[in-house]
């Protein structure tokens, strides 16, 4: 178990996106935060990198990421009007990939903003 300190980490829990947070972690979870508010602290401490979930599920059964990726591609390719929705908890880089995928499959792309 090795203690690491991350300085100037960025909290994404609310729109303030504070980027002055210090995080102490033991490699599995975040054990201590500095400068974060109550919401941010709870958010950081809530996460672990333990493997709590299967890599992927197809129809409720465990599958590999590769199988799931190919099955997803098949489903999206077969659809006439696929919808891509979400975007508020993913990075800008991931959103760019999503926009490009939406163009490729002739789909609709939408975010929480439309609610």
């Amino acid at each position: 178990m090795e203690l690491t300190v991350t300085k100037n980490a960025t909290c994404t829990f609310c729109g303030c996106v504070c980027d002055d947070i210090e995080l102490h972690s033991d490699g599995v979870r975040i054990t201590h935060t500095k400068a974060a508010c109550v919401l941010g602290t709870a958010w950081f401490k809530n996460h672990t990198v333990e493997k709590l979930f299967p890599d992927a599920l197809i129809d409720g059964k465990p599958a590999t990421v590769d199988e799931a990726v190919h099955f997803a591609a098949e489903l999206l390719h077969a659809a006439d009007m696929p919808l891509l929705y979400g975007l508020s908890n993913i990075t800008c880089e991931a959103t760019r990939e999503a926009a490009s995928l939406a163009e490729l499959i002739g789909g609709v792309i939408d975010s929480h903003t439309s609610l």
Partner: protein
């Protein structure tokens, strides 16, 4: 948001001497907004910090944020648009109807005082929350407030900024804006982007049953959307990318676990003032990032036959 008169939070910190929160509760929803960006900070042109600034809170009920405010204006529910319209008339010295004022729950005195402060300040800012943009009038309320901020610039510097929610909602808007020209609710089904909220917004698409597959990226509509929308997600093939197995994952055909943004996945997110900031994920996890999985899906789709001649990224080149 086109034509929005806005600024960065750094400018607010260094310049704003009148800060008006409208329909938001930063004390509970954006806990460090006061201390990091607005009222508590000492700034270049507001060297005495809190003493140099006036904070006004406009809301329908007295939230914990009211304690931080110098002035609290309690508006009757659903009357925000009317208050904004009265203010727009009053800054131009136009006469207003006393009966119309009485209906808003505020007095003419309170409105006159607010107008005087708005005109006398050096740098004013409206921060508006969901209490304004998600209640009766919706985007018309935000548009009215943005117009008021723009019109105030005939007298002094004035800006407006939405208090955006969690995660990277702002970034989603910005990226879609610069890739497609529109912020959300975009259909690419004709090979070029079309924007039409109400037609291409998720909730309407799902309730009408218009879409025949769904890829859900870091959201859980299965827990938050109205029942008819959830029923449609169950009917069609749904694919979920999420760090957790969510309600939506359970009704989906495919779930892929991804690394949590900012915890074990790096990248860029936008702050509410549209400033991009890099993430510094402190942990390394066992799952791939959303970015990687979406790219792999895109590459797998790209190998298949074009859905429309000339598509697959090379539009009408052949």
């Amino acid at each position: 948001m086109g034509g929005k008169v806005s600024c960065t939070l750094g400018e607010v910190k260094n310049r704003a001497d009148l800060i008006i929160y409208w329909g938001g509760n930063p004390a509970e929803c954006h806990p460090r907004h006061f201390t990091k960006y607005t009222i508590m900070q000492k700034g270049k042109y507001v060297p005495n910090g809190r003493k140099d600034r006036t904070m006004v809170l406009v809301d329908i009920r007295e939230t914990p944020s009211a304690k931080a405010a110098d002035i609290f204006l309690q508006v009757r529910p659903t009357k925000d648009f009317e208050v904004i319209t009265l203010l727009r008339a009053m800054i131009k010295d136009q006469p207003v109807d006393e009966a119309a004022v009485a209906e808003t729950g505020l007095s003419l005195e309170q409105l006159r005082d607010l107008v005087a402060r708005m005109k006398a300040c050096k740098f004013g800012v409206f921060f508006f929350g969901m209490g304004l943009s998600m209640t009766r009038g919706k985007h018309m309320n935000s548009a009215a407030l943005l117009t008021l901020a723009a019109e105030m610039n005939a007298f002094t510097k004035f800006v407006a900024m939405p208090m955006r929610g969690h995660g990277n909602v702002t970034g989603g808007d910005v990226i879609l804006r610069y890739t497609t020209g529109y912020p959300f609710g975009i259909s690419l089904s004709r090979g070029y982007p079309r924007f039409n909220p109400g037609e291409f917004s998720t909730i309407d698409l799902l309730i009408r049953g218009d879409c025949d597959a769904a890829l859900i990226l870091g959201a859980d509509p299965g827990a938050t959307m109205p029942q008819p929308a959830i029923e449609h997600l169950k009917r069609i093939p749904t694919i979920v990318l999420d760090p957790k197995v969510t309600h939506t994952s359970r009704l989906a055909r495919v779930h892929i676990t991804t690394a949590a943004t900012g915890i074990s996945a790096g990248g860029t997110v936008y702050r509410m003032d549209e400033i991009p900031l890099p993430l510094r994920p402190p942990l390394k996890g066992p799952y791939p990032t959303d970015e990687e999985v979406i790219r792999r899906i895109r590459e797998a789709v790209a190998k298949k036959a074009d859905w429309m001649p000339g598509m697959n990224g090379v539009v009408a080149a052949a």
